[in-house]
């Protein structure tokens, strides 16, 4: 396993243990995290931690499971399942106490110092809202 893959896996491990500051240490100070499902870009470690804090408030038991990593040199791609129980407000919607699981893909590009310079995250918010009861059965495209 490459050093970059090791870093990604270590980042997820500490994230699951809620050491968000340690998880952020795997990112460059000025790293960019693009969450395509929320059409939001977080710039720098503080904003990235802020986005995680928001997620943990909504899903205090949130964890990334079933990690698969793909080593593409400077880029590491990870697929995982995000799981958790909705105990707090999410996107302006009241907590539902429901459990959800969402497939996610992360594309992380490393800089020469071995830190994540940019991460793109892809997931589907619609299926999440359906699981929470905030949207009706998915439109089969």
């Amino acid at each position: 396993m490459s050093k970059n893959v090791d870093a990604v896996r270590a980042g997820f491990e500490v994230w699951n243990k809620r050491d968000l500051k340690k998880a952020a240490s795997f990112y460059a100070e000025n790293a960019t995290l693009v969450d395509h499902s929320r059409e939001t870009t977080y710039k720098g470690r503080d904003q990235i931690i802020g986005s995680w804090d928001e997620l943990v408030k909504a899903f205090p038991d949130a964890e990334a499971t079933d990690l698969k990593t793909y080593d593409a040199g400077d880029t590491v791609v990870t697929t995982f399942v995000g799981r958790g129980t909705n105990k707090g407000e999410l996107m302006g919607m009241a907590a539902t106490d429901r459990r959800v699981s969402t497939p996610v893909c992360s594309v992380a590009r490393f800089d020469s110092k071995g830190l994540i310079a940019q991460e793109d995250q892809y997931s589907d918010t619609f299926s999440l809202l359906v699981q929470l009861g905030h949207a009706k059965a998915p439109v089969q495209a």
Binding site: M91, T125, F126
Partner: protein, 141 residues
């Protein structure tokens, strides 16, 4: 220089863009499994996968994959791209809206020992697409 697998993977999108679906699936294994997480469907054969491509064209007759970035991870190629098109046909139960949509996507494409695509996964935000089409409302962020 792009690897053979990267060239093969990108050729799928190129053929799709040219509406040559036979060529698009030429390097897809007959028993491929392709999970489309955004649409919530799994194709379990080349024939079914070709049908999902045809489904996109039915909904978006001018649909194109654009802005490709491919990552070479050995037997797996990861392709980031943007799907664009005008929704001028029905997508399942959803009628045509006449609206344009542009959706960031990522595919995980895995090859077998014969150089055929044996597995694929697609990640994108269905909600983002539905909002652009006027078929769903964006949640409050």
């Amino acid at each position: 220089m792009a690897s053979k697998h990267v060239k093969t993977a990108l050729a799928v999108y190129e053929s799709f863009n040219k509406r040559d679906l036979n060529q698009a699936v030429a390097h897809i294994a007959a028993d491929v499994t392709w999970i489309d997480h955004g649409r919530g469907i799994t194709s379990k054969s080349r024939h079914e996968f070709k049908a999902t491509l045809a489904g996109w064209i039915e909904g978006f007759s001018d649909g194109q994959g654009t802005d490709f970035t491919a990552h070479d991870a050995g037997n797996t190629v990861i392709v980031q791209f943007t799907g664009r098109g005008t929704n001028d046909g029905a997508m399942g139960p959803a009628p045509a809206t006449g609206r344009r949509a542009s959706v960031p996507m990522v595919d995980i494409v895995t090859f077998d020992s014969k150089g055929k695509i044996i597995r694929g996964e697609s990640y994108f935000d269905m909600l983002g697409m539905l909002v652009q089409l006027g078929l769903a409302e964006a949640p409050t962020m």
